[in-house]
Point group: C2
Chain length 375, copies 2
């Protein structure tokens, strides 16, 4: 299909889920920051204050999620909000569930705050429900961290049925659902499914961010939930950081006001959709026997290599061939059972973030991967 790519060409980085460099809207952000600083809130965003986030943006997010502004906290990126939330909810030794695999930095965050993090296996259409029910006979987690749309790292989208089941189980067993939806808006095809909070919001905290939609460097993330959580979380955020960085939050509000958000989102979809398609095509071509979740959006596809493939020292062998991969085991929390641990899916798991690579790079990269794992 392509000409052979050797290790002398530039390395292909399947390592981090970052936006494409060409998608970062420097001119639009500059225009927004200028407007903010020349406008009536210019002094406000340079002063202390707004502990829950820049008030107009808080209001805007509240409208999007149909909640009151005091049910929204905007911080310096969603990861830090998750850190603070864990500090609020988790005592050392408490159990937190994640999907297995899940976002490596989230697993680390929960553990750093003292949680025992147990991974519930993920099927191609969302959580493995009988495994979850089994796990709930052993533990009642403080919260269950799920990424229902275009999951990081697997690319899995949770089906409507499983979303309903998750919400019912959370109500029944009394745990929080922490749904992380940074990729949700980046849907390249198909129909949107309801958020967990759309089904029933009493046990749901929703966290999201502008990192994938405008820029990661501005670090604007937010959490939406009931006041019983958002009020003490806002107090904890104030105690911890005093106030979030305000000029960038105000620029995000201005970005919406000027209609840049929709325009930028359309550009992102146009750029990323062919990259997703190239990834799907390359897997089907070069790794035809591997079942994988075919996402309709987001940043990630993943494959679990077959047991009989040659996956030993894959990272270092791939690096020699100019293919940079992330260690798959980082995406795995504690296994639910010894049996699962022995299955060793973590050692055979490969995440393929496709947004910051061209279709040609993607195709070459997956071709290289396929040749590396030939037994």
């Amino acid at each position: 299909m392509q000409k052979a790519t050797t290790s002398t060409s530039s390395p292909i980085l399947f390592t981090r889920g970052v936006p494409a460099q060409e998608a970062l809207p420097t001119a639009l952000m500059s225009e927004c920051l200028q407007a903010v600083l020349a406008g009536p809130d210019g002094k406000t965003v340079l002063q202390y204050g707004h502990n829950g986030g820049y008030a107009p943006l808080r209001q805007l997010v509240a409208e999007q999620y149909q909640v009151a502004p005091d049910q929204v906290l905007i911080g310096n990126g969603s990861l830090h909000l998750q850190d603070l939330l864990t500090a609020l909810l988790v005592k050392p030794g408490d159990v937190v569930f994640t999907e297995q695999p899940s976002y490596d930095r989230a697993i680390k965050t929960f553990r750093r705050r003292g949680a025992k993090v147990v991974g519930i296996p993920l099927d191609l259409d969302g959580i493995h429900l009988s495994a979850l029910e089994e796990a709930l006979t052993q533990y009642t987690p403080r919260f269950f961290y799920v990424i229902p749309d275009f999951q990081n790292p697997s690319g899995v989208t949770t089906s409507a049925e499983k979303r309903h089941a998750l919400v019912q189980l959370a109500e029944k067993h009394g745990f929080w659902l922490l749904e992380d939806v940074p990729y949700r808006t980046l849907r390249y095809s198909g129909e949107q499914l309801p958020l967990l909070r759309d089904i029933q919001s009493t046990r749901v905290l929703t966290v999201s961010s502008y990192s994938k939609l405008i820029s990661p460097g501005i670090r604007v993330g937010y959490i939406v939930g009931p006041r019983e959580i958002i009020k003490p979380l806002t107090a904890l955020a104030e105690e911890t950081i005093l106030a979030p960085v305000l000029p960038t939050q105000a620029a995000v509000f201005e970005f919406h006001q000027r209609g840049f958000f929709e325009q930028n989102l359309a550009n992102l979809k146009q750029l990323y959709a062919p990259r997703l398609q190239a990834t799907i095509n390359a897997i089907k071509t070069y790794l035809p026997d591997i079942a994988f979740a075919e996402p309709e959006g987001g940043f990630f596809i993943s494959v679990t290599l077959p047991r009989e493939s040659n996956y030993q020292q894959l990272l270092s062998r791939a690096k020699e061939e100019g293919l940079m991969l992330t260690d798959g085991s980082a995406f795995f929390a504690d296994f639910l059972s010894e049996q699962e641990a022995q299955a060793g899916a973590n050692e055979r798991f490969v995440r393929l973030p496709f947004c910051a690579l061209t279709p040609d790079e993607i195709t070459s990269g997956i071709q290289r991967l396929a040749s590396l794992i030939q037994a």
Copy 2:
């Protein structure tokens, strides 16, 4: 001296140490942000990365403190860096020393991370050395948090002799000195004394910020220290927040490059120096019997009201008279002894932040305070 001010005039806020609204450089910041986003690092500051802070700013701070760039970590405000540092150094039950009184949010931060926080009494020229030596027979703290220049909340500047003594004691007893110097550059008269790190840097961590020098809303703070601390602290910061907000850090660098920093600093001094003088004059006029530290810079003066004064329910009585005060006890950590606790200085402590008030407001405010405490 002034005409009588009644509670019908607008309230006078001696509550928070914030910059004057008129001192916030909206136009200069806008110019800097535009230059950054149009420049070669425009994409860089919108992307992930730079976990230790925007590299050119890290380099600049390193040059200022004559250290290597990897001895500097720039974060989203110095308070959060103190939070992370405490997470790194303190296990629950460890002891931390602060000056007594000290910055209320720092005391809270150390306690939230599990420290027992013991206050070492402050004289008008810095720490009470024999009390410190006595305390060191009881405890070896993990660190001693000091604000050597124009201390918050007292206004005290630590003498050169006491700076040397602190450094010697830290070396002898093996604790870290955490010197917080956000006000240091705002010296309106007199000669600068050496930083603790200038005397001997092996046991010193220096934390500072641009909140008082450019803007608090941009949340640009930093910590300087030996690699044995800065390296794991940078890793912990990356795990906690992924990366700091970059456009505002780059704007601070640009602010220096364009010569705005010196110009802005001169403006601040011109604005604040008469406010400090008005505060000193008013205390001498209306509270003539009270000994207090006369600062030569910074944001704060404080008074400890005499025991015989009428300080009961002072906050609520002051509020009725349109004078807003902060609860003095918030600035006090655990007392070193029962005797000190009984002296009750915390109940009689009044902080007077003067930078965001006009000389007339300051004079009226202190006049009101004087009449309120008449027995």
